[in-house]
């Protein structure tokens, strides 16, 4: 359980610094089981900050989304830092971005929160369907205490957690400037059970499955935009000359997009599951990401978002990398 008062104090202190532009954290959403990103520009804004198991967003996407409009004459660029509230998984995104030099370390203030698991909004909405306006969710060891219409129910975490939390190896932020509360211990281990199970299917079964998934895609690019690591200035699907992926929405172009999206996150995806959460069509994108994560762990003994000093996976090599597939 995170002490929200401590969080607010830290945010207040951070935003009071001259060298901080704003702090991004969470506030209560507008309905039901929603939390939403919020921004503090002045100390008073910190009052609305919360942290609960409903805070599923990865806020590290925001420093990467900052538009840099062309400066007017005599205007100085705003080089102040951005404060970000992060959970364990989110912090790995920052580490990964730092590793790729997408962001400079001294441009962010990282407010870390140890997290023992969040709630999958889809799962909880399925469990409590209907006209819910305000709810309260609290973290109680191995259960979530969900209060709806004044009635509290305790639900085992496994029933409501997204997949990523069930096998989370990094409940504590990997990198932070300030930590709220104390680090927590966790014995969870990523075992790639689902990936392994899927691998056992035949080629035809696999393609039949993915064909159906990719056909659903409407190419809104919510997966890309919600992803903190998809921060290319110009995404390859927006490129016109040459145009690799056509704008038409059909199986071929959708497959190309989804495969390339997954590939472009190889060795970079830190498993925060934002893509899958944001997808309005419910495409299980993490199944692709997790497969790559597993393979690079096996082939290259590499894990993304752990060390900012390491070189990016696909920008380095070892002479004895696996090459049994080469003729």
């Amino acid at each position: 359980m995170v002490d929200e008062k401590e969080l607010r104090d830290v945010v207040k202190k951070t935003i009071s610094r001259d060298d901080v532009k704003y702090v991004v954290g969470y506030e209560k959403g507008t309905y039901g089981f929603q939390a939403t990103p919020c921004f503090a520009y002045k100390p008073e804004d910190a009052e609305k900050f919360i942290f609960s198991p409903l805070c599923v967003h990865n806020l590290t996407v925001f420093p990467m989304l900052e538009e840099k409009p062309p400066l007017r004459k005599g205007e100085e660029p705003d080089t102040r830092k951005i404060g970000v509230v992060v959970k364990g998984c989110d912090s790995r995104a920052i580490v990964q971005i730092l590793q790729e030099k997408g962001l400079e370390r001294d441009k962010v203030v990282i407010i870390g929160i140890p997290c023992s698991g969040v709630i999958d909004p889809k799962k909880i909405e399925a469990k409590f369907p209907g006209h819910i306006k305000k709810v309260e969710v609290n973290d109680e060891d191995d259960k979530f205490a969900v209060t709806v219409d004044g009635k509290t129910q305790k639900i085992p975490k496994d029933e409501l957690m997204p997949e990523k939390c069930k096998t989370c190896e990094y409940p504590n932020p990997v990198l932070y400037d300030i930590l709220i509360g104390k680090e927590i211990k966790s014995k969870k281990k990523e075992d790639y059970k689902k990936v392994n199970a899927f691998e056992k299917k035949s080629m035809k079964e696999k393609w039949d499955y993915w064909e159906k998934q990719f056909e659903k895609c409407i190419r809104c690019y919510a997966c890309r935009n919600a992803c903190p690591l998809c921060y290319c200035k110009e995404c390859m699907v927006d490129q016109l000359n040459p145009q690799w992926v056509r704008r038409s929405v059909n199986l071929s172009e959708n497959t190309a997009w989804n495969l390339l999206r997954a590939f472009h996150l190889a060795g970079r995806c830190i498993g925060c599951e934002q893509c899958e959460r944001a997808c309005p069509m419910g495409i299980p994108l993490m199944k692709l990401n997790k497969k790559i994560e597993k393979e690079i762990k096996e082939m290259f003994e590499y894990e993304a978002g752990i060390s900012a000093e390491e070189k990016p996976l696909l920008a380095m090599f070892k002479p004895d990398d696996p090459e049994e597939f080469i003729l």
């Binding site: 959403g29 507008t30 309905y31 039901g32 929603q34 939390a35 939403t36 990103p37 919020c38 921004f39 967003h57 996407v61 925001f62 989304l65 538009e67 409009p69 209907g130 006209h131 819910i132 306006k133 159906k212 659903k216 409407i218 190419r219 809104c220 690019y221 919510a222 890309r224 935009n225 919600a226 927006d238 056509r246 704008r247 038409s248 929405v249 059909n250 934002q274 959460r277 944001a278 309005p280 069509m281 419910g282």
Partner: protein, 340 residues
């Protein structure tokens, strides 16, 4: 306007009759989502839903549409394409049907869009009243009801063991020609029952948007910092616009090889910076603030100014699926309260 009754047991007969002369599109279950798609048998339908994941606008305004085919080069040729034949959209919700009436304005005008309008002429809308609105439904904020028959050709309302059927116009009557054995005239009690069902549904709608005077209010707060606050959490994806039943922006692209090609139009979203980016590098809407503001203004200010109707039907899809909880009910209501 004829009021009839269709027994629930006769529904599949009705659909079978429709299928004889038309392509029928109806809600079907696909994984955990409901989508409108073509059916060949009544049993493929699933009518136990609130709203489809993608609004049925995509049946009239295709996400990908071939405008014409061509041969490039010095011996260039252009070949028109035909738009498909008669169809029935069965089970369309009153809110989605209203959105199609709203889209009519955009596609009509000085230049008529032949693709949308031909389809529109050839499509009959058989509506189904919504009897279990969800948390983010707010159609009542636009003086409409989940059982409104205004925008469909025929409206069915589930009143227990039968459907209350409102034949709205000639198109609806023509559609049911020769099926008189299926329909019986409704009694006073059936009409009363429909009213009750409607009231129950209306009462279930718990969220409301304040749209009084919003058009004029937005005129006054274009430069207000409020928009920055609203838009800052936007990640810039196209979910809200692609899933909006009234959004109609598109992009036109040529797809071709050296010898053959087609000009294709695809949905586009004003949330994408490339949407307005000019070749010179200048972008009139450079930041997310500009883009989110444009979305709201287009619906609540520009559209009413041009066509006298707010381009929102209150289906709530953009709220349901926004990854960062940008809530149009909340945004517009608060915009109304902002100090100008």
């Amino acid at each position: 306007m004829d009021k009839m009754i269709l027994l629930k047991d006769d529904l599949s007969k009705f659909i079978t009759e429709l299928l004889k002369k038309n392509k029928v599109f109806a809600p079907i279950q696909s994984d955990d989502t409901i989508l409108f798609d073509q059916i060949t048998r009544p049993s493929e339908m699933n009518l136990d839903f609130c709203k489809s994941e993608i609004p049925p606008k995509n049946l009239l305004f295709h996400q990908t549409e071939t405008l014409f085919k061509f041969t490039p080069g010095t011996k260039a040729k252009i070949e028109s394409v035909d738009v498909d034949e008669k169809k029935v959209i069965f089970g369309i919700r009153p809110c989605d049907a209203k959105s199609i009436a709203i889209l009519d304005h955009a596609f009509k005008g000085d230049y008529e869009d032949p693709y949308f309008l031909s389809r529109r002429d050839n499509t009959a809308l058989v509506g189904l009243s919504c009897n279990k609105p969800e948390i983010n439904c707010f159609c009542t904020s636009f003086d409409d009801s989940p059982a409104s028959s205004k925008y469909v050709d025929i409206l069915l309302t589930d009143i227990g063991d039968k459907y209350y059927v409102e034949m709205n116009n000639e198109k609806g009557k023509q559609l049911t020609e020769g099926m008189s054995n299926l329909f019986k005239h409704a009694k006073e009690s059936d009409a009363k029952k429909k009213k009750e069902v409607e009231k129950k549904a209306v009462d279930m709608i718990s969220r409301h948007q304040k749209t009084n005077g919003i058009v004029e209010k937005l005129d006054k707060i274009f430069e207000n910092p409020f928009w920055k606050e609203v838009a800052f959490k936007c990640v810039g994806c196209g979910t809200c616009t692609y899933l909006c039943p009234t959004c109609h922006c598109f992009d036109i692209q040529d797809e071709s090889t050296l010898t053959k090609g087609a000009r294709v139009r695809v949905w586009d979203t004003c949330m994408n910076p490339e949407y307005t980016l000019q070749a010179s590098g200048y972008n009139p809407r450079p930041a997310r603030t500009n883009r989110v503001k444009n979305r709201i203004y287009h619906k609540y200010n520009y559209y009413p100014k041009n066509f006298d109707v707010i381009a929102c039907v209150g289906c709530g899809r953009c709220i349901d699926l926004c990854p960062v909880n940008i809530d149009i009910i909340d945004v517009v209501t608060r915009a109304g309260e902002v100090k100008a």
